[in-house]
Symmetry: C2
Subunit: 204 residues, 2 copies
Amino acid sequence: MIDSKTPCGAKPPRRRDGSLRKDLVEAGISILREKGIEGLSLRECAARAGVSHAAPAYHFKNLTGLYTAISARSFELFSESMDAKRQKAGQDPRDQLLAICEGYLDFAVGHRELFLFMFSGQDMDPQNRDFDTVSSRAYQILSETCAPFVEAGTDPEEIELLIWSLVHGYTHLAMVNKKRPKRTGAPLPLLRDLLKHLDFRSRT
Amino acid sequence: MIDSKTPCGAKPPRRRDGSLRKDLVEAGISILREKGIEGLSLRECAARAGVSHAAPAYHFKNLTGLYTAISARSFELFSESMDAKRQKAGQDPRDQLLAICEGYLDFAVGHRELFLFMFSGQDMDPQNRDFDTVSSRAYQILSETCAPFVEAGTDPEEIELLIWSLVHGYTHLAMVNKKRPKRTGAPLPLLRDLLKHLDFRSRT
DNA sequence: CCCCTCAACTTGACAATGTCAAGTTGAGTT
DNA sequence: AACTCAACTTGACATTGTCAAGTTGAGGGG
């Protein structure tokens, strides 16, 4: 009665390659984009991936597990955004620094919900090693790009925190305040102006 | 059978002064503190305030209404924290600026969940006029304190955004990263150091 | 004093959700 | 052919937001 080639009544084949996990994460990201975090649920991810309501729990254990996986994937995209801009920039450390800031902003503007979610302070699954890896990667990009500006004998973290705080604060405030359209048209030039106020020097 | 003076079986008197609304907001803030936003629900607020599960909907209409009220109350506390520090500081504009930054940080450290919630990007109830008032108040404090540093002929918003981005970014990152205990012992001195990197001058 | 009104709730119901326990299934191993 | 076990499915339950309808008791008008 049931023809396995008929898409109608046929059950989808079980996957043994872990591809469902990836699909669930992608579904979650879509939901986050469309409906914000309120609309993000294990069951809706399951529905979009075409599996039963409890399937996500097998891969993620619980909501926190799904959140962690989505956040990890977001950090990948985040790092990619910064890296892409950095590659395109010249070798001058100031250009590189501005480039990653641009990547930072671009990612947030292009993926507002993901950005807010990543930096929401949600507890993540401490078991998830992947999350640590990808979030450290983002910090590493920042750190590398700041390195030329570290003055001898000072803690590199100081300048890193200065830059990071400034670009993050600027970006985060822009994302939180959806209204105030005043500056949103050209946020990068303003950030460029802000960076001019810093008295640090590259030691090239 | 039922003695109105007996606290046991007696129904609480109906309030006509709107005090339940305040109680519900306080309950919500307590829940936010104890269990984070995951644990915050209309029904739990109702339970803590000793009313029926649907009572909050009367005052807040829906979850967004409760969120907006809690956020508004948080902004009040936030402004009070900055104002208190500012009052205690001397008249020197730099001292005042450092004072409100200290108030900013103090509030976040003392009320982490509230701080994260206020700046979570959650949509708020646009009907709620109170929310606009109290959030504008916080921006006003910042603006006033930055005023002495605005150079003639420049847009005040530039320096405001610079300061605000820096202090917000620093604070927000500290709140998001619960781990990384490295600097958390003395965040303010570090912020003070960061501010030194700025080349703006007060025109006193 | 009685009756009316209406703000401030309460009660009851429903659908959506997270989570858990138990069942199923089918590919690979022995 | 029997076994195993990863990858799910099914079913159930408690919690939650939201809505419709009911209740209640203070204050006002007659």
